[in-house]
């Protein structure tokens, strides 16, 4: 596709349920990032994938959060046993590779935990 695609665009869930958020990066982009955007917190780094290297998971806030990237393309961010404080917009971004700092962002997935 022309840009980074994320789904769902909106997700409302009940506390305690698991959710999966999907990201389709730009074709050919080898690096993929997940960020969390919430009011007053700015953009919080979650995880970074680069090619076949081990991901940088240093930003994941708890062990309820996990992400995988299959085949070097599509990525899924999973949040288990959601809590109200998980409510935020989850942004995915991709880049051509590690040498560039220009990230191309998706429109985000807005998660609301009731």
């Amino acid at each position: 596709g022309a840009g980074v695609s994320q789904s769902p665009s909106n997700k409302v869930t009940e506390k305690g349920k698991d959710v999966e958020l999907r990201c389709d990066p730009i074709s050919g982009h080898t690096a993929l990032y997940w960020y969390r955007q919430s009011l007053g917190q700015g953009l919080e780094f979650l995880i970074y994938f680069q090619g076949n290297s081990a991901p940088d998971k240093s930003g994941l806030p708890s062990d309820r959060f996990s992400a995988e990237r299959t085949g070097g393309s599509v990525s899924t961010l999973t949040i288990q046993r959601t809590q109200q404080e998980d409510s935020a917009v989850y942004l995915c971004a991709s880049t051509r590779g590690p040498e560039t700092g220009e990230l191309f962002f998706g429109e985000g997935s807005r998660l609301t935990v009731l």
């Binding site: 700015g42 970074y48 940088d56 700092g101």
Partner: protein
């Protein structure tokens, strides 16, 4: 710890006034610095990066290593500049963002 600080949550100016959005970073070594912008109902996108030394939409940003700052400036603000601005720093691929400054330009 790696940190990017944007002290102002909101900056409100009148059209034609000068604008300066502040950004300070705390990093070991020499990170790359960026400004990203998010206009209403649009995706977050790159505005400019320090290595390019370019002016985009009239905005410039100078890296001051002594003060560890990378403030974004524009001499005459326009209404269409109203947006959320994020400063970011990168070292070893990980791009860290500040908390953002909302710029409101009134007519």
């Amino acid at each position: 710890a790696q940190r990017v600080t944007q002290p102002e949550k909101l900056l409100s100016v009148f059209k034609g006034a000068p604008v300066e959005l502040k950004c300070n970073y705390s990093y070991s070594g020499s990170p790359e610095l960026f400004w990203y912008v998010q206009y209403s109902r649009q995706r977050l996108q790159l505005l400019l990066r320090h290595i390019s030394r370019e002016s985009i939409k009239g905005f410039t940003a100078d890296l001051n290593k002594g003060e560890t700052s990378f403030h974004l400036k524009k001499p005459f603000a326009q209404e269409e500049d109203s947006a959320m601005y994020y400063c970011a720093a990168r070292r070893f691929q990980k791009l860290v963002f500040g908390t953002g400054t909302r710029l409101l330009v009134s007519p």
